[in-house]
Symmetry: D2
């Protein structure tokens, strides 16, 4: 039996940029994926919120991992769009993504990004939709 | 006379995340903006290319600065979409953004992101379109 | 008590284009909206499927109505993106939209568009996400 | 020598929905495509402007034709996003689309949609970006 979570964590560990930011993979199975990112000061913009680019990075990566649950690990994000809903604050961010529809070579996925407070209250701060494609 | 470039650089300097990545503002005027980011190893993914999240961050930030040329510095990205076109390689990345249409409170902007080789050859690797809104 | 569905149908009846196509509003309440469109031949493209423009129209309109449940009837679509998933076939199309997040002047909404067969089997054929804004 | 414009017009003529609306193909070559649509009353919404769904249809179709200049006529729109900029008024609409980047099986394209007054003044009313894919 394949340990999907371990395999996903190996992919994440091989992304230098994800290591720089501190991203963790906390779920990776057929029903979806979850990435977790402690919101330390270096990830913020001028008003003390998570930088939009951090939310984008997290959404993009979660979408790719979601696509990977159907298309295999050799996947990349072809395109996506993101709507920012609220300033992202909290002790960490969580991105949850799942597959809306998968064909043979592409999958359309959705992702919600939450800011999570110290006591675990989640607030939706961005939502994304995009296309993941098999690499090569 | 206002030195727009100096003002823009001050905003960028106040973004901890942009400092972490090493982004520079190289143009900021009515015709558009340009961000430059040396492509060091920490910004890469598992295949040695710039991580998609880095391209997204750069596009998002360039779109916001472009909107800021019309709406003032207190702006934020409301939403955007990005298409990844080619793996991003080179010594640095450049993002160029401009305003397509500006109303009173929002501006629709476009951005192209290029990977630039040591000898200055630019290859388009992503293109984005989005809405910038006045904050507050 | 306001009859929301009747009010929504009045708006739809005042859209000449929606009348040309034959769109019906079948649900319009706080939890979301549903538009229904009989798939007659004039709505098709060269391969016998619903034209993508018809799916887009339906998604766009459903997103707007969804935003209207929170922002009032004087709303317009500011932007949206749509992913086409499958060829749309069947006796009619159904678009279901709901609000993901609503602020004071804008709402971010999602919409799924289904092709429905004679015996009521629904197949997801497009999914959309966009921003609805108060008019004026 | 292939008459691309004639070929494109044949495709458009085979789209029942494009015939219902009255769309004409006025340019179809390697540098881009142009669609033209007389803005008669049946294409409007409740405020007398072109219905957003009409702009979307036109952008979607122009994006597809643009992709077709590189990928061949058997293409479809995989996804796109559109920003509405101004109410669309005038005697007709024009959509101009071109290819930003083309790979072997997909092309990323852009489209601007204009409302054109009786005396030929064009006003940009929507802008779109999307992915066209080879069919099959």
């Amino acid at each position: 039996m394949i340990d999907m979570l371990a395999m996903g964590r190996q992919v994440l560990a091989s992304q230098a940029f994800s290591q720089l930011l501190g991203t963790e993979l906390t779920a990776f199975h057929d029903d979806g994926v979850e990435l977790r990112l402690p919101l330390h000061d270096k990830l913020k913009q001028q008003n003390g919120f998570a930088h939009g680019g951090v939310l984008s990075y997290l959404a993009d990566n979660a979408l790719t991992f979601a696509g990977g649950t159907r298309l295999g690990v050799a996947v990349l994000t072809a395109e996506y769009k993101i709507n920012y809903l609220r300033p992202a604050v909290g002790t960490h961010l969580i991105a949850r993504a799942s597959v809306v529809y998968a064909g043979k070579t592409t999958a359309t996925c959705r992702c919600d990004v939450f800011g999570v407070s110290e006591d675990g209250i989640e607030k939706l701060c961005a939502t994304a939709q995009g296309t993941i494609a098999k690499a090569g």
